[in-house]
Amino acid sequence: MPGFAKTSASKAVSKKGNLGNTLHDDALQNNGTLLGADELVLNMGPQHPSTHGVLRVKLKLDGERVRGTECVIGYLHRGVEKIAENRTYQQFAPYVDRMDYVAAISNGLGYCEAVEKLLNVEAPPRARVIRTILTELQRIASHLVWLGTHALDIGALTPLFYCMREREEILKVFEKYCGARLTTHAFRIGGLQYESYDGFEKDVERFCNDFERRIQEYVDLLTGNSIWIGRTRNVGVLNAADCIALGASGPILRAAGVKWDLRKAQPYASYDQYKFEIPVGTNGDTYDRYMVRIEEMRQSRLICLQAIEKIPEGAIMGKVGKVIKPPAGEIYHSIEAPKGILGYYIVSDATTQPYRVRVRPPSFINLQALDKMVRGHLVADVVAIIGTLDIVLGEVDR
């Protein structure tokens, strides 16, 4: 008992600002009422389990309702665009893998094709088909990472491990192809460095055949689950007009009902040879984005299956010299990366090093829509919405 008296006495003197104070002093000063509504500023991140990296979001809360946000980014800024100006064209290619590191192959494809356009050369057909297969596998892998982490954010623990199990199979194919799993540097300017290994088609086919069943597992776990629907329906709605105004692209745009995909609109690699659908949503909410991505995985699987049926024979490298020195000028080339429009704007001054490389990172621009999407929602929805944006901070910050 004496301990009680002592602590309480010392506390009475030393206690200045416990949380209640800091919260309510403002309120007292502002409107002088005891029960006046206060705004609480909650700092999410940069170390937070569900900001998918070092994103920091300042949330202005009223209770648990979000009244406004501010994103603080740049914690992972490495100056990739500056580095590009000091490397040759080939030397810079591995750097692009480090931007969206869960979809490194897509980044590489965009960069290689942009430089090829700048050089006015084309990769040979065989190279383009192999590129397509690997890029589509990468799209599946990227969506799997998204699905697992998104479900984890919403509280479903198990899909993450199933997704990682399937992604592992894809990464094994990458590893067999080029020796790397994450930052692959699989493509070269002008084509490919490596021939596809023996049994490449078989590996891809086996994966694709298994994968249909696997997708069904996720669908069983999530799609019809009423908690999942409750957490994602009408959460983070972004309609088509807002998407376009905010530049949000990829699955976000398609979930809003815009049937637009660069693979169809302006085909690159060998996408014009394959039949596939563009899945679209109707409401543009988190659930639609989930459905669109699930369906995109199915379509990617179909593309892979069609592509491995006929990989043309021939060279895998186009006519590109050892020293790449594009004529002066500039090029903008964009592809449909798993996260949206990935664009490269390259200015050449007819030297071996690019004069300027600008990357249009889909994550960076999609992240801008966060504020619009979370206003009026609860803190729990912020987590769901960050997840549904599918951002990679390496790409946001570059």
């Binding site: 416990n18 209640g20 909650l42 209770g63 919403i154 509280g155 479903a156 908690i227 409750g230 803190v379």
Partner: protein, 457 residues
């Protein structure tokens, strides 16, 4: 002999079961909680296509001990701006409340600390709900936004779901007509049915409410790691954190015990009144012996010698326990063949058997908790509140009436099962109506882009 010693001996003679139970609760429950955690991790791993802890001991069997040691020697951090007295007190409250409430739980006909307490079930409920004081105070004392949000959520959740859970319990209490734990179990024996079959809706409501009260997924919002980092535990580390953690798992055991007592027939074996199924009484011994046999079977396959030895040790332990369980049966055999053993174990052995069934049911209940946790996503706070206030509480009230009506019908000569089915169907219809009505409500609310206040009610 010294009169003081005599008094003490007399005291021990009368109270030894209670004292042993108390010591077991204080000393063993933390260990059991540790192993519940291990079991949860193993189950989770199994459902998620991986192995789980495998490093410490064979199949990670020593993992809980390693965890405890690690937590004990971890640096104890108290945030600078926190309220140190409350910060110190809060986890203790949580832990003490959970363990104290276990005192009135009957782990079998013989094992109970507060045996003849007349309000047993109320005691368990009331004292276990005190644990929330620890959560709220801890969240407040940490002086962190995440902690206080977790504490606020926790309080709101407690207030909402204790109401629903309490009303569900009332249904069972109506059927038993007593608050005394042993009498409740006896009532289920006398009425030839577990109360889950007489009041299935109440059982379900209690299941949901107890998940919410123990902050387990899909209602684990106070500590949702993707939103509030760790909720009220964010600033805690080391042994204080372990106290919270143990309190949480002890609470799971408590709610499992309440549900088992009220709805699953307590320590009664399945079909306790059917005499030709009496052989079920030997099942505990057989099951434990089979576990031992399996351990021996696996022992040969262990890669390391130590692990083989460990498996053998476990197997021998199992056999020893099985032998104790079988002793009653063996004693009867000996009696039949005229061998008289001067040991009166009639009191202990049914108790052991009962404890086996009781713990088996509690484990099953906790298994359901875990299963749901690995399968379902998490509710959002307003959805949680809506489920509690708009669906569960009205349903629980309706169910209390329905149980009363079915009892009235039975008193007036209607077959009990007919009355039960009729009222249950009515309650289910009410449930469907409530869910429909609520869905429409939220639909219109969300189209008006103004979702209702999450703390409403």
């Amino acid at each position: 002999m010294n009169p003081t010693v005599l008094t003490i001996l007399h005291f021990l003679q009368t109270w030894w079961v209670e004292l042993t139970c108390g010591v077991v609760i204080v000393a063993v429950v933390p260990l059991v909680a540790g192993y519940v955690v291990l079991l949860e991790r193993k189950l989770m791993a199994d459902m998620q296509a991986r192995l789980g802890p495998m490093r410490v001991g064979p199949h990670g069997l020593l993992q809980p001990i390693a965890d405890a040691v690690k937590l004990l020697i971890k640096e104890d951090i108290i945030p600078a701006e926190s309220d140190k007295f409350i910060f110190w007190l809060a986890p203790v409250i949580s832990m003490v409340a959970a363990l104290t409430s276990m005192g009135a739980v009957a782990f079998g006909p013989a094992f109970q600390v507060a045996r003849d307490i007349n309000i047993g079930i109320l005691f368990v409920l009331g004292v276990s709900s005190l644990g929330f004081l620890g959560i709220i105070l801890g969240g407040w004392a940490s002086n962190s936004h995440y902690s206080i949000l977790g504490a606020l959520r926790s309080t709101a959740q407690l207030v909402s779901y204790e109401t629903a859970g309490g009303l569900a319990i009332i249904s069972a209490l109506l059927l038993s007509g007593t608050l005394k734990i042993s009498a409740i179990v006896q009532a289920q024996y006398d009425q030839h049915a577990w109360f889950i079959f007489l009041a299935p809706v109440a059982g379900f409501i209690y299941l949901v409410a107890s998940i919410a009260e123990t902050n387990r997924a899909p209602f684990d919002l106070p500590e949702a790691e993707s939103e509030l980092v760790a909720g009220y535990m964010t600033e805690y580390s080391g042994f204080r954190w372990a106290l919270y953690f143990l309190g949480e798992y002890a609470n799971m055991i408590v709610v499992g015990s309440i549900a088992t007592t009220l709805f699953l027939g307590g320590w009664l074996r399945p079909f306790p009144n059917v005499h030709w199924l009496n052989w079920l009484d030997f099942l505990p011994a057989v099951i434990i012996a089979l576990v031992g046999v399996y351990c021996i079977y696996r022992a040969g396959k262990q890669p390391v010698k130590v692990q083989t030895g460990f498996m053998w040790a476990v197997a021998l332990g199992c056999f020893a326990v099985a032998f104790v369980f079988a002793a009653l049966w063996l004693l009867h055999l000996f009696h039949r063949f005229g061998v008289l053993i001067p040991l009166n174990l009639d009191f202990i052995l049914p108790g052991l058997n009962g404890a086996f069934w009781f713990l088996l049911k509690v484990s099953g209940y906790i298994y359901v908790f875990m299963w749901l946790r690995f399968t379902l996503p998490r509710y959002r706070f307003d959805q949680l509140m809506h489920l509690g206030w708009y669906i569960l509480i009205p349903l629980a009230i309706i169910n209390v009436f329905a149980v009363g009506i079915s009892m009235l019908l039975e008193a007036n000569g209607v077959n009990r099962w007919i009355g039960m089915v009729l009222t249950t169907v009515l309650v289910l219809a009410a449930a469907v109506f409530l869910v429909r009505w609520h869905d429409q409500r939220t639909e219109s609310a969300s189209t008006a882009s103004l979702t209702p206040d999450s703390y409403a009610g």
